[in-house]
């Protein structure tokens, strides 16, 4: 049965009254990630906005067990949880590391790469808000070209982001997928699928950040959808090497063309200083990646 808003479980594992900003895409995505895990998980989290969401001692707003771990160590911590559970014969709960783009693309990539190479049986979820938002919006390896941030304050970022999903796929792991908080059911299905697979699974979740990207709180969903429509985010999964476009990206591939990038950039204050050249460069980057995905999907 296809999951819909009507038949999706009512049970919440992320409780109301948490510490995230209004309109937080992470908060929305995490709700559905935990629903897909049915609470049967042990989560480990490095410093990030998710640390804020989990709350301040002695209270947490999440009803799944969680261990906070230093910034570079999300995947190593997950490895330790798994090794401990195995040693004690307590296998069962899915071990999940959830980190931001800073904790994944940058400081955490060494431990993540090694955990994937060791074929560690865990799910790694990177929620990507394209910068160090928890420390006040500094540039990360995921920040787009042309975006203003705390550490690219005048000129905007001068480089394209790295393709973390391709990097993870290159590890030969059984499942990689991209998702987007604006498509919660697609995210839910992917987490559910990943949960049932053994080995290292990686899901990238695009998470628009209203204060960091400078757009109104209520636009989180529309910004996320637009990101798919312009091809900045491509929703897909690669299961045992088989590539498949999903959800809105699948529809766009079938029915036509990407919208121009300009509309997306214009809705976010972080692109206020972007130059025509940078827009063209970004468009080329988007087009090339979209073409690669279309080719892989056999379109």
């Amino acid at each position: 049965m296809k999951t819909t808003a009507v038949n999706l479980t009512e049970k919440e594992y992320a409780l109301p009254g948490n510490r995230t900003c209004p309109g937080c895409a992470l908060s929305l995505a995490y709700r559905h990630i935990l629903k897909a895990l049915e609470g049967q998980a042990i989560v480990t989290v490095p410093p990030s906005c998710l640390t804020v969401l989990h709350g301040m001692y002695p209270i947490t707003s999440v009803t799944v067990p969680c261990v906070n771990t230093p910034f570079a160590s999300a995947a190593a911590s997950a490895t330790g949880l798994l090794a401990g559970l195995k040693a004690l014969g307590r296998e069962g709960p899915t071990v999940v590391a959830v980190a931001g783009d800073g904790g994944t693309y940058d400081i955490g990539i060494q431990a993540l790469s090694a955990a994937a190479e060791r074929q560690t049986d865990f799910l790694y979820i990177c929620y990507d808000n394209e910068g160090y938002m928890n420390t006040g919006n500094q540039r990360s390896g995921s920040t787009p070209l042309g975006a203003i941030s705390g550490t690219t304050p005048v000129l905007g970022k001068q480089q394209n982001p790295k393709d973390i999903v391709a990097i993870m796929e290159a590890h030969g792991i059984p499942y990689v997928a991209t998702a987007n908080a604006s498509y919660p059911l697609d995210l839910y299905e992917k987490v559910k699928k990943a949960r049932a697979i053994r080995g290292t699974r990686f899901i990238h979740v695009f998470s628009p950040c209203p204060p960091g990207w400078s757009f109104p709180f209520n636009n989180t969903i529309s910004i996320g959808k637009l990101a798919v429509e312009i091809g900045w985010v491509i929703l897909y999964e690669v299961e045992d090497g088989v590539f498949r476009l999903t959800s809105a990206s699948e529809s766009i591939a079938k029915q036509g063309n990407l919208k121009p990038l300009r509309e997306y950039l214009g809705q976010q204050g972080r692109f206020r200083n972007i130059t025509e050249e940078q827009i063209e460069a970004l468009q080329r980057w988007v087009n090339a990646r979209w073409k690669r995905c279309l080719d892989r999907a056999g379109n």
């Binding site: 808003a5 109301p16 009254g17 510490r19 209004p22 937080c24 709350g55 002695p58 947490t60 999440v62």
Partner: protein, 94 residues
Amino acid sequence: MGTRDCQHICAESSPAIGEAGKTGEWRDSFPVIDPEKCVVARQNKPACFLCWLYCPDAVITKTVPIQIDMEYCKGCGICAQICPAHAISMIREQ
């Protein structure tokens, strides 16, 4: 008053609603549902529920009719944006 009654030796936390307090106090506007337009209210049975699905803070109930927990609703306005029937309006807090 000391903390010796607290048995923790490390920062061990237990789940509770409202970890950040009554986050409804953060709001500058609040959502109001028009039952004349809301699909759930009009059909008087489980339907649509997109506002519930998209609420980042899990403050909307999946019930007939839909209810919003104003103690914790941060007033982001996503529900108003996402509602296909335009049944939710955001009203400025006084």
